[in-house]
Symmetry: C2
Subunit: 318 residues, 2 copies
């Protein structure tokens, strides 16, 4: 049976149709509405799924179902998503599964965005050869998921929040309202805010001219990549600062859990690729307690479509 | 059958004899030699076990065996301990099980000191009602152990090193050679070093006069307790600094793993007791990502003998 998968991100909605072998038969991308509310986001998701189905030459209602990897607080059994900070006016629980299912005419299953992406890496990607690993999802925020004995470790339901490891007591303010979180140094959102402050103080950078030149309103991962390619000083400094924080936070997680490996993904992780993965590996070294046996650090294999592929895996094939 | 258990610490050696119901029939305590080498430590351990057996009115060779909870790098199957930083001249692997067994005439099993103590809390103490929890062992160093589904999670063999969570990038130097580790703020060893520096700079404190009055050469847990009882300003400030670091480090561990509970033990944790446990709980609050569902934070129930009781559990009863 063919299945749909949607990766609902803060900047883009990625939809795919896959077959039983997880081959991608159709795909589409929509910008995530940055204003309005849940109804606008649902409309953009429906549009993306329809387009992806069209690319696979079929109607949406021929799909066995659609899986959605969502940010925020996902209640999979209730089919709701609450407190999605990167989505417009999305605080109270939204019955996302029901709203989508009504529009699409097929069952919809929800999962945590980072969780489904990391589970996909475990089943099909860079995590295949490990029984236990940490998925480090580096994007607008810094997310994570822990695989233990090939299953996702959820704890009481919310495990994996490595982005809210305190790497600096009384440190930088984080979008979550706390201080010193890893995400306050390494999240693309925090990095953009810091770059904007630096520009207001007179720092020269090509980050914002590259952003405008390529038709963006935010510093996307591709903008960061281009600025690094040009050896932009501010971009290099902010990425170095992010990587130092990631090194400390991820090494701390390894000191605690002693997992076999770290798989690096997420928008920025995937875009900066092998080079960033190697830099994170090196940045961990000074902080690893068992320094002669570091974990393997690998780039995700499924890349930008991993989230949508993982979402499609939420739909049971019969 | 009766079993022996030894908790080998950096300042004291605690030996007990227990019956099948883990009731303590005899106990003895020796100071850990602070100079010399492994042979001196082994001699003090033998003395402590003999004395504990005597207290239980039996000869050592009537024990089913002796278990040892050891600091440093413990290889249980090889029966060796290496790189025990708080023991004198103990760097290369020492065949501790064989050396003790030869002297005592009974089998000796080794385990990690914090690990056996936390497993004892899981089986017999404050961890009984949780499937998963973090043991936070606050003493000379800051150790930890993770229980997952009622079993100790070892990772690749070294999980639990919460003391080497980086709580402050480029922060205070740690005895491990790294910077900014939780232990550099909260370890009793680091706190003593900082107190000594403060005194050299002219800070007034009763810590060292209390130490001398009670016949110690180091700031033991009881010295800290007495200084707090007197509202000594330096002691209060250093304990507050330690608790703030513990709050951040432990909350970060919970954000990552979402375990059900934290059990606080170790020499300083047990001595400062419920008050410190409550302060750690409160210090975690500002850093918990899922702030409306904090883990329970509880004081260990087995107290100072927990390590030795846990060590005795290494001996299989037949």
């Amino acid at each position: 049976m063919l299945r749909g998968g949607v990766d609902l991100g803060g900047t883009k909605i990625e939809a795919i149709v896959v077959d039983d072998g997880n081959r991608v038969l159709g795909r589409a991308r929509e910008a995530t509405p940055s204003s309005g509310g849940p109804a606008d986001v649902v409309a953009a998701m429906v549009e993306a799924i329809r387009e992806a189905a069209e690319g696979a030459s079929l109607a949406v209602d021929e799909l066995a179902g659609v899986g959605v990897g969502s940010p925020g607080s996902v209640d999979a059994s209730a089919g709701t998503v609450a407190t999605a900070r990167n989505l417009p006016n999305w605080d109270a629980p939204v019955p996302l599964a029901e709203l989508l299912s009504r529009e699409l005419g097929v069952p919809v299953r929800l999962g945590n965005d980072v969780g489904v992406a990391v589970e996909a890496e475990a089943a099909l990607g860079a995590g295949r050869s490990y029984r236990s690993f940490l998925g480090l999802w580096w994007g607008t925020g810094v997310g994570g998921a822990i695989m233990v004995d090939r299953k996702r470790w959820l704890g009481r339901g919310s495990a994996g929040e490595i982005g809210h490891t305190v790497v600096k007591l009384n440190g930088a303010p984080c979008a979550c309202g706390r201080r010193g979180c890893l995400e306050a140094y390494a999240g693309r959102g925090a990095m953009e805010a810091r770059a904007r402050r630096a520009v207001r103080r007179g720092t020269k950078t090509s980050l914002f001219s590259l952003m405008e030149k390529h038709g963006h309103t935010r510093l996307t991962s591709s903008v960061w990549q281009r600025a690094l390619d040009e050896h932009d000083d501010l971009a290099e400094r902010l990425i170095e600062r992010a990587i130092r924080a990631l090194g400390a936070g991820v090494a701390s997680a390894i000191n605690l859990t002693d997992l076999e490996a770290v798989v690096v993904g997420g928008g920025l992780g995937n875009r900066l690729g092998d080079d960033a993965t190697e830099r994170i590996r090196r940045a961990m070294e000074p902080h690893l307690f068992v320094s002669d046996r570091p974990p393997e650090v690998r780039l995700s294999e499924l890349g930008d479509l991993g989230g949508a592929i993982g979402a499609a895996r939420l739909v049971a094939t019969g």
